[in-house]
Symmetry: C2
Subunit: 595 residues, 2 copies
């Protein structure tokens, strides 16, 4: 048997322009139908599909082969491109105006019945899809997502190349850090008892690139974190990692905005407006109860505490007296919700940490709700005024300490946005969240800890507060958020030794302790450091949002489950005892009952 012919065209390259030409296509059998004595095959390749028709008389050998063919066989089909008759034109198919009249069919490869059909939106258990990922990758949406991912990578790389960032590969096998509880470790064969660690991010290396005078660095950095996984986490992930020297923060913001404007234009054909909104952290928490607000809809948190300063309603009064807040959101037009619906949101509030969710509904027959009787009429009037409530609206209230109010009302707002379809899904609303606190107070250790990391610059105007009121010090730290997701976090770094020592002291670290903790980076910082800063952007998450997906597995070619397992290869797996001996380690199972 001679070798099957290789393609002259991809399936969707064929158009009415090719009619009467003899061409060859290669691909998988998407479907086969026998109709009126003819065999119809839909052939699928990376570009799409085309219909092949096989006639028993004019192509008897091809017909005999086609008769044996089943789904997912890989074929070479040679034939003449022909116009379809008007009544058989398929408007839902890119090649729906033509078909191929097969003259020869050859089989590259047969196929067992696949574990599921190659169709989008079919209802198939994800574990089956992941186990047979090589079949799942044939789904058009999966391929579209990977093409999008490819295009996004090229777009960002081209942009950064134009802006003189150097793509520099940093090590994957590196040193475990003192806070490395979530490090993946790699035992060394040569150095018995010693381990490499996979990087949680190339933070130290990129700062060292700046100390090394490389000016501008970037990398699509593979990062690793051994922690419990969620739909938007994978044990290994890719970060657009950047660092730059000698640059104004303002110029950097503009550059990143232009990068995303270009990305959206090149891969989605969407124009996004720049500059992006900038919202200080405190304002974002105040208005949206979140440091990654979805800005595609309103429903902002309204502080009703100020009109309730003298309330006699005990819950509110005691909260306000103890430094807490009372805030509300206006659920427009939902006054008609049943008690059960409202109660369900109460449960959501409790799951988010609140003690309860109070409510008032402006119904046609008057103002009802859990606190309608507890508040005075003038208080309700004042509330109505500052919340802008109208007939038909529903107000939700939470009274608690500020962090709980934010988490609860922010969380409810985000869910309501989705469930009430308040969101224009075609929109991409970026914002910078700025002026993050430098420190957060750790109640366990009763001391301040860096919120970002210990090399983040404090804002110049707040440096004087470092000793007197550390909780008020803001950092030159910025998050980029999009549609309710945090895309990434960055900061300007400290480059002056005195300031760095001050920060360490404020964290309660002696010079010896800081040396032990930050070792070679600190040493490097003794040899001349440029002013520098950078950002790390979650590339997987960016692609997920651009693809309109909500799960990273849909934009990752070979993902792991939430249990960090690759179902296709069965990794991780037990290994040979000899291999472990060579690495100077032994498996040590915990005894049952011990912790």
């Amino acid at each position: 048997m001679s070798k099957p012919a290789l393609r002259t065209h991809k399936t969707t390259e064929l158009t009415t322009q090719h009619v009467e030409q003899v061409i060859t296509i290669n691909g998988w059998v998407q479907s086969r139908r026998d109709l009126g004595g003819l065999i119809f095959l839909n052939i699928r390749d990376i570009s799409g599909q085309v219909q092949v028709v096989v006639h028993p008389e004019t192509a008897s050998e091809a017909f005999q082969i086609a008769d044996q063919v089943r789904s997912e066989y890989v074929l070479s089909v040679t034939g003449q491109v022909a116009l379809r008759t008007p009544e058989t034109i398929n408007q839902n198919m890119a090649t729906g105006e033509i078909e191929i009249k097969a003259s020869a069919i050859q089989v590259f490869s047969t196929a067992k019945t696949p574990p599921f059909q190659i169709l989008d939106n079919i209802d198939v258990d994800e574990t089956i899809r992941l186990k047979h990922r090589y079949v799942d990758l044939r789904r058009p949406k999966m391929q579209e997502n990977l093409v999008l991912r490819h295009k996004a990578m090229q777009s960002v790389r081209r942009f950064l190349d134009r802006h003189e960032f150097l793509e520099i590969e940093t090590p994957i096998m590196t040193k475990s850090t003192p806070e490395g509880a979530r490090d993946y470790l790699v035992p060394s064969r040569v150095h018995a008892g010693e381990f490499y660690a996979l990087p949680q991010s190339p933070q130290l290396f990129k700062q060292l690139c700046m100390v090394g005078g490389l000016d501008r660095y970037f990398q699509f950095a593979r990062c690793f974190r051994d922690e419990d996984l969620r739909a938007d986490r994978q044990p290994e992930f890719t970060q657009i990692d950047l660092e730059f020297s000698f640059i104004e923060l303002e110029e950097f913001y503009q550059m990143m905005e232009e990068m995303f404007v270009t990305l959206l234009r090149e891969v989605k054909g969407v124009e996004v407006a720049a500059p992006f909104e900038r919202i200080p952290y405190a304002e974002s928490m105040d208005r949206f109860g979140s440091d990654k607000p979805d800005l595609r809809f309103g429903m902002e948190l309204i502080n009703v505490g100020e009109v309730l300063a003298d309330t006699e309603f005990k819950v509110f009064a005691s909260t306000l007296a103890s430094g807490g807040q009372v805030k509300a959101i206006n659920v427009k037009g939902q006054a008609h919700w049943s008690r059960k619906e409202v109660d369900n949101w109460g449960k959501v509030a409790e799951s988010l940490g609140a003690k309860g969710l109070a409510w008032l509904a402006w119904k046609p027959d008057g103002i009802k709700g859990s606190i309608a009787k507890a508040l005075k009429e003038e208080e309700i009037v004042a509330i109505a005024k500052i919340t802008g409530v109208e007939e038909g609206d529903l107000l939700f209230f939470v009274a608690d300490k500020p962090s709980v109010v934010a988490a609860t009302l922010g969380g409810i707002r985000a869910r309501l946005g989705r469930e009430l379809r308040l969101i224009d899904e075609s929109k991409y609303h970026f914002a910078w969240i700025t002026e993050f606190p430098m420190y957060e107070y750790d109640e366990d250790s009763a001391q301040f800890m860096p919120m970002h990391h210990a090399f983040t610059r404090p804002m110049d105007e707040d440096i004087s507060l470092m000793e007197t009121d550390p909780g008020k010090v803001r950092a030159v730290c910025y998050d980029l958020v999009l549609n309710g997701y945090e895309l990434g976090s960055g900061s300007l770094r400290i480059y002056e030794r005195e300031l760095q020592e001050k920060i360490f002291a404020s964290l309660g670290l002696s010079p010896e302790e800081s040396k032990e903790k930050f070792g070679f980076l600190l040493e490097a910082f003794e040899y001349g450091v440029p002013p520098h800063g950078g950002i790390g952007l979650g590339f997987d998450r960016i692609v997920m949002i651009l693809a309109g997906e909500t799960n990273l597995r849909e934009i990752t070619a070979f993902p792991k489950t939430s249990n960090a397992v690759c179902l296709m290869t069965s990794a991780p797996s037990p290994v040979d005892g000899q291999q472990l001996d060579d690495l100077h380690i032994a498996v040590k199972m915990k005894e049952k009952g011990s912790q």
Copy 2:
């Protein structure tokens, strides 16, 4: 103190066009000289250097700062660009026609005296350079190499993007393979006693991408191999990894040639001729004693056995009688070498595996040499004829089995090429080595083993030899070589189940054994496989050659030593016992005396 001013220009952006303009530069102090009451500073940034002159009277504050400044301080210098006087122009400096008359100098960061000067070609121990890599990265040649690496990456990516290859990231944490003795392992926290492995190459994943219909795949793949290291090996390395479906091998060759032609043009400004030479493996071994010949010079191996068929010289006669070879190389013009020099090459031959190195020298006073008396005059005449020897030339001979002759004379040829400076270092001579043997005979296990891997296609015309004479079967396997280095290896793969089963049988594998060994790839191959093939190219090695370096550490930002240690971060290192407990492993040192 106000913040230092950020740059308006990089140093080498300044030209005579900027004379009289007031500009600001930022960078490191390369050198400081005090001359005639003035202070001269050379300031270095990523682009190069420029001279700053500080006058004690016109800029007294700047002068006071400059007076404190030492090497590697990071400064901001503001001043007016001025023409140098004709006698002070420095032709060796890109900015040698101008200087900056400083009006203000501000210090971003002070610096300790660096462990070595920031100059190329200084004699400093490599361990010091690696320990202080962030200082070493400031050397102009190091930066030039990393810029070259960046440019090479972008050039290759753009090319592959244009040719519709999709950049797809495959997992770093994957499954250990049965032959995984050189795998780096990663213990799992969630799955006690189980391990991931870092990939030696993404071979299986890229073939699965093809089974998944992704058509064309590429990746700058990070690969890991736990083996003894050499100057051109690192424990982690980067591979330009490609795989394609439905394509003629001829088209693929052309595509790769165009990729390298484009690369050389874009990053070196060099035009390389295509198509590249194609040399079958057997011919390459015959002519050059190597499957990665340096083709920039001749000195081919000449088979002199054919004119010695009836020789009475016992060493040659017995070698030929037992199926061995007698070959020579002509070391043009070196008949004058001393006995000691010739003996040294004899030692090289022995270190490469030969029992000895015979020689004949065409000296002005006659033909001398170790075998001058052992051979008959007509034999020497015949040898002179087929080797084309002339007066003044020296012939080296090795008689042994073919593999030893090739290794020895091939090795001597390569060294002579370098030592006699026969090589035009400005040339890039590519070639494809083709028609590799499918199998090599493993004397230990007394069976044939795949030379490339078990999925490599045999050449169609040799399939019939698989059962009768497996040693003669050639594979559709190709190496790309450049200047004596192998850049990478590829092959067309088997996609027909029957042929695959035949190969497994020829390797002595039962269906059960092959299933155990190749598991999920074999399973995937049951669901419809396109014809496909690919290549993996050593990116680090390519950059090393383009940079004119002979050590990978010169083109790697943060390399490891030949002992797989990062001297800067001290990785690998011991870790916390709690971390090991969490990973269900314990360190198990070998007892002294045990093996």
